[in-house]
Amino acid sequence: MATVNLIYFGSVTDITGISSERADSPATLDELNEMLKVRYPKLSVISYRFSVNRQLITGNRQLVDGDDIALLPPFAGG
């Protein structure tokens, strides 16, 4: 269990209704993702990636206290 900072962007904020929150997280990113999909079921129908401490993450990863975890829908700059 880790206490992490969750940060939401773009269309994800419409689903969560907030732009950030602190949360008790399971030990891994995959488990956190499953927990978030239970808390916010509409996450299952959109596309997003994770960053941990401002690094894009592909695959699973162990989480530790204080990690900044962002849910990033597809980028749309320009």
Partner: protein, 143 residues
């Protein structure tokens, strides 16, 4: 929020380019400056006209991402002398600029190539999102 030199609140002013060319005048090794301006278009979606775009960014991630884009370009293009990038956050109305990029290089070929590649890398990697605002007051997230 920490200030971020790559982000600007509202549209990118046209003076951003002229200010840079003044700075560049001192850098006599560069023989070519190439610019890109991205503007908000008045697209029509389902019969509704886009009046503006509300941009949001992951501010703390923008800086390391742009630094890595610049490093990639400097690695690839040996003649490159400067890369400058600024992106809007907040409201940008139709016709206004939301992205400006300037590259300077020894000669024009690398300037054009590096500029095009820079804009593509920004599109692919910059953590920025946009919400289209329509004339009837509705909105739509892109991405």
């Amino acid at each position: 929020m920490a200030p971020n030199s790559y982000l600007i609140e509202g549209p990118v002013p046209a003076t951003w380019l002229s200010d840079l060319t003044t700075v560049e005048r001192e850098k006599t090794a560069a023989g070519a400056l190439a610019f890109f301006l991205g503007k908000v278009r008045d697209d029509i979606v389902d019969g509704k006209t886009v009046t503006g775009i509300e941009y949001s960014a992951y501010r703390e991630m923008v800086e390391p991402v742009i630094e890595s884009i610049k490093a990639e370009l400097f690695n690839k293009y040996s003649e490159l002398t400067q890369v400058d990038i600024v992106h809007s956050t907040g409201l940008v109305k139709c016709g206004e600029n939301s992205l400006a990029v300037m590259v300077s290089s020894g000669h024009r070929k690398q300037a054009f190539s590096a500029l095009a590649e820079c804009v593509e890398l920004i599109k692919e990697k910059l953590p920025v999102w946009k919400k289209e605002l329509f004339s009837d007051g509705t909105t739509r997230w892109i991405g």
